[in-house]
């Protein structure tokens, strides 16, 4: 497949967020090797929130989260992540939706 290089971060700059500092609404449970489901999130999270550390674990920075729930559903069976909606009023604020 042809590889188009896209910086998702540049797309996210257009959006409005109210970040709940110090209270991430999603967290990855400690692991040595990520499950297949967890590893897949690095590519399929539409906001690119997941990444691999140098030692191979999957970590999340949920500030740019679009609150779609894809990671929640993909990892529902494995229990790799803890997922909640942000507190009321926080998170993505769609201007158009």
């Amino acid at each position: 497949m042809q590889e188009i290089h896209i910086k998702v971060e540049e797309k996210l700059y257009q959006n409005r967020y109210m970040v709940d500092e110090g209270r991430p609404h999603i967290s990855v449970k400690p692991h040595t090797l990520p499950s297949e489901a967890l590893a897949s999130l690095v590519k399929i999270c539409p906001a690119g929130c997941y990444s691999r550390t140098e030692t191979g674990q999957v970590e999340i920075a949920p500030d740019g989260c679009l609150e779609c729930g894809t990671c929640r559903i993909v990892c529902a069976a494995t229990g790799d992540i803890e997922w909640n909606y942000p507190r009321g009023g926080y998170g993505i604020l769609f201007k158009f939706g």
């Binding site: 942000p86 201007k95 939706g97």
Partner: protein, 433 residues
């Protein structure tokens, strides 16, 4: 809050707003809880508004609802990498006094709809997330717990309109978790252009709109579709595929959107536009088989939370509004008759849904999700074959037409073989029956 409400509605999207509005209008004491800053701030859709469903709730909505364009032309395109083959339907009959479909911008539309809910007398509390249902010792739902301090609130009935993730129901153990093969992940951008540029580019008048629905190689073999809708001063462009296909194919959603935007048939339509938002959202696409238990003692589920989407016809918001209205009417009737909000009474909601287009249409297409899932070549081989066939017939190059026809037939038969072709026809016909 120590008072007990007649009803609590969780969520302020199309289904929640419809439900809360109808109940409040009938004089019920309604509390609606929304986690966003305002109704619409968490909601994403293409978006098309189907007038009929809203007209049955607010007959004169056209007077002040924020509508973008009424749709006069529908383009259905099948894409391969270089071409599109398709059908267009455009009719002046769609320029009617009460147009049938409109493009809308959800953040604005939902805000308007929610203002109507308040005007009808409901209490709307925003910036509050419902965390779970509260049940009595017999298991009847009697209220909700929120993320506010002292945030327990009680009501005779709770209507869950909290969207596709349906967290409240699944965490309260009354609904199974959504599975990756029953939801599509869609990503979308809003592209802004001057109004006159949109109108000349799409060959439309001031209030008129065009929608383009797309399938084909642009989803790189995954089950999915793409769209392009004209708003007044913007174009909504998006693409979605099953979550299970994304995980399997390991394709970046943003890459897919970029690929679609750069397709030679799409790129000129977006040229020079300014992007102002990037959104992602899940769409329930599991069909009838994914619909959960819809009611119980003290509760009902409506809209996307109940997985009411007709993926074939791209209808969801109309099913959301209709299910919200039917749930509201069920509560109103029970209240009038002095009946308790228990399962044996709320079953009327399910019966009303079964008599409506909501369940009838889901039933009609119940086989389709599986057929598409098991026949990925509908999204790869056929678009390529159709495009090749059209190119072969249209290119004038000295070859006689019968030889061209033979070439086309051969291409189809060598790709799918006769049995495969017949099987595809049978499967599709059966799924659409």
């Amino acid at each position: 809050m120590s008072e007990t409400f007649d009803a609590i509605v969780i969520g302020a999207g199309p289904s929640g707003n419809a439900c809360a509005y109808v109940m409040a209008k009938a004089g019920l004491n309604v509390l609606q809880i929304e986690r966003g800053e305002y109704s619409g701030s968490k909601n994403v859709q293409g978006a098309i508004l189907y007038a009929d469903a809203l007209e049955r709730i607010i007959p004169d909505f056209r007077e002040d609802a924020p509508l973008e364009r009424h749709i006069v032309e529908q383009r259905m395109w099948i894409l391969d990498d270089k071409a599109h083959v398709g059908g267009h339907y455009r009719s002046d009959a769609f320029n009617e006094e009460r147009p049938n479909r409109y493009t809308i911008i959800r953040a604005q539309f939902d805000k308007w709809f929610n203002r109507k809910v308040r005007e009808a007398g409901a209490l709307v509390v925003c910036e509050t997330t419902v965390t779970e249902l509260i049940k009595d010792d017999k298991g009847k739902v009697i209220g909700v717990r929120t993320d506010r301090e002292d945030g327990d609130i009680y009501a005779d009935v709770v209507v869950m309109a909290d969207g596709v993730n349906a967290l409240v129901a699944s965490r309260s153990g009354i609904k199974k978790e959504v599975t990756p093969d029953a939801v599509a992940l869609a990503v979308k951008e809003m592209h802004f252009l001057p109004q006159d540029v949109i109108e000349s580019r799409f060959n439309i008048g001031e209030e008129e709109g065009v929608v383009i629905e797309v399938a084909g190689s642009v989803t790189v073999g995954m089950v999915g579709t793409a769209f392009l809708y004209t708003n007044k001063e913007s174009i909504a462009v998006g693409i979605g595929c099953l979550v299970s296909d994304f995980t399997e194919a390991q394709v970046r959603p943003a890459f897919l959107l970029e690929k679609f935007k750069n397709h030679p048939s799409i790129k000129p339509l977006l040229a020079g536009s300014e992007v102002k938002e990037y959104a992602a959202h899940l769409i329930p696409e599991g069909g009838l088989n994914a619909v959960p238990q819809l009611f119980g003692d003290g509760w009902m589920i409506v809209g996307d939370a109940a997985q009411f989407v007709n993926a074939v016809h791209r209808e969801g918001s109309n099913m959301a509004m209709t299910s919200g209205r039917l749930a509201a009417e069920t509560v109103i009737n029970a209240k009038k008759a002095g009946k308790p909000m228990v399962s044996s009474v709320l079953v009327a909601y399910k019966k009303a849904l079964e008599d409506s287009f909501v369940i009838k249409d889901l039933h009609k297409y119940r086989r389709l999700p599986k057929v598409l899932h098991n026949n990925k070549h509908f999204f790869t081989d056929y678009p390529r074959l159709l495009s090749q066939a059209a190119e072969t017939m249209l290119r004038v190059d000295g070859e006689d037409k019968r030889s061209k026809e033979k070439k086309i037939t051969k291409a189809f038969r060598s790709t799918r073989r006769l049995g495969g072709l017949l099987g595809d026809v049978f499967n599709l016909a059966r799924a659409f029956r």
